[in-house]
């Protein structure tokens, strides 16, 4: 009995300690971000690795998600004789929810895991300690550029995802099934509001980008410096950031689209 209680206490205090460390790490990250922004090429390099290399997967999945939405949406709307509203359905679901969320999930598994593995391996091979020995702050040199690259890349990727999805919906809805192109676009334009829908979607994706990057760099920095530790940290990045994205999405949606 006593042993179980000790274990329970250990688990809880460990979790609390980790959350505290992650928060302190986040503050440090912001404090040392000056270097990442002054030496912009460091951040640009990371935008290449997390943003540009994610382009293909994001755009192809966006296209397919939009095409599926077009097929399924048409099937349901047709029953109520309002298949012209297909454009509205595709655009609103992509811009408000699917764009930011699915792009963030893909980004977490494509780029977040890579960031964790890279930083974790740097730690395991004592590159981070070597930097400290040379009076180079590893948070400023390694962590901050990766964080800001994620924050910058995520909204762009989400916008590309939504745009490709709407194009996919157009391909299936208008080109394949034969919904009227005029009403497809005009009904979409009539009911998608720039501030209400598109800007809120962008805000969501910026928040998700910050969350994913924070979790990824933290897990990498905090990883046990062994092969096993790095692999565990990489898995934790994907699992934690996926859960955090979905939870944060619920909270943001509740604030943004309540009522009206």
């Amino acid at each position: 009995m006593r042993e179980h209680l000790i274990n329970l206490g250990h688990v809880v205090s460990d979790a609390v300690w980790r959350v505290g460390f992650a928060s302190r790490f986040f503050v440090m990250l912001i404090v040392y971000s000056g270097t990442a922004l002054r030496r912009l090429h460091l951040t640009i390099r990371e935008i290449y690795f997390s943003g540009v290399l994610s382009l293909l997967i994001i755009m192809v999945s966006g296209l397919f998600v939009g095409m599926v939405l077009g097929l399924q949406g048409y099937d349901t709307l047709e029953r109520y004789g309002s298949s012209e509203a297909l454009g509205v359905l595709v655009a609103l679901s992509l811009v408000r929810e699917l764009g930011p969320v699915v792009a963030a999930l893909l980004f977490a598994s494509r780029a977040g895991s890579a960031i964790t593995a890279e930083i974790g391996l740097m730690k395991a091979t004592e590159q981070l300690s070597a930097m400290e020995m040379m009076a180079v702050n590893p948070i400023a040199r390694v962590v901050a550029p990766r964080f800001w690259a994620g924050v910058v890349s995520m909204p762009l990727l989400a916008a590309l995802f939504s745009a490709m999805g709407i194009f996919g919906g157009y391909l299936v809805g208008v080109r394949l099934i034969g919904v009227d192109a005029g009403s497809f676009w005009s009904q979409m334009q009539a009911s998608v509001d720039f501030r209400e829908d598109i800007l809120n979607g962008v805000i969501k994706s910026v928040v998700f980008g910050a969350l994913i990057s924070w979790i990824a760099v933290f897990e990498g920095y905090d990883a046990e410096p062994t092969a096993e530790g790095v692999s565990g940290a990489t898995t934790r990045t994907v699992v934690t950031s996926s859960l955090v994205i979905l939870a944060a999405d619920f909270v943001l949606t509740a604030f943004m689209f309540r009522g009206t």
């Binding site: 943003g51 309002s82 709407i166 334009q189 998608v192 720039f194 962008v202």
Partner: protein, 158 residues
């Protein structure tokens, strides 16, 4: 990879992201329609607005000329006051008739403006005086049933 190619790729990435955002704003959203035109406000009082919502369309002869900006209840007259944002390009005479219509059987509701013949035009912030409320289906059915019952009663007396 050298730095120029890397910068080039990042440039392409950022540019395409911005183009996607512009596409969303201009082609998918209503940014082009909302910002390129100046608007003025008109008010209208209705007994019942039915299911009219903020951001609903305002149409004249089927053409969208503006949007519903605000709906609230006047606490003195207990009438619904609808504020409409109308495109500056369109001016309406003082005796314009405002009705609440439904697009299709299950479609959303909109404000329809039927233009009158008065030479003076409505100005910013003025009230459209002639209005007709939304048709409430329950009331309509109720009237129909009462009418039927009265007919049946009259028939039974004879």
């Amino acid at each position: 990879m050298n730095r120029v190619t890397l910068d080039l790729w990042v440039g392409i990435f950022v540019a395409s992201g911005i183009i996607a955002l512009l596409f969303l704003g201009l082609k998918v959203g209503n940014l082009a329609a909302a910002n390129n035109s100046e608007t003025y406000l008109l008010l209208a009082r209705f007994d019942n607005i039915g299911g009219l919502k903020v951001r609903g369309a305002v149409k004249a002869a089927g053409v969208v000329v503006g949007r519903v900006a605000d709906i609230h209840l006047d606490s003195e007259s207990y009438l619904a006051v609808v504020t409409m944002k109308i495109n500056k390009r369109y001016q309406f005479p003082r005796d314009t008739f405002a009705t609440i219509n439904t697009s299709g059987l299950l479609g959303e509701q909109y404000v329809g403006l039927d233009v009158g013949g008065d030479p003076t035009m409505l100005k910013e912030g003025e009230m459209v005086t002639k209005t007709q409320s939304a048709v409430v289906l329950e009331k309509l059915i109720g009237q129909f049933l009462f009418g039927k019952a009265a007919e049946a009663g009259a028939a039974a007396k004879k």
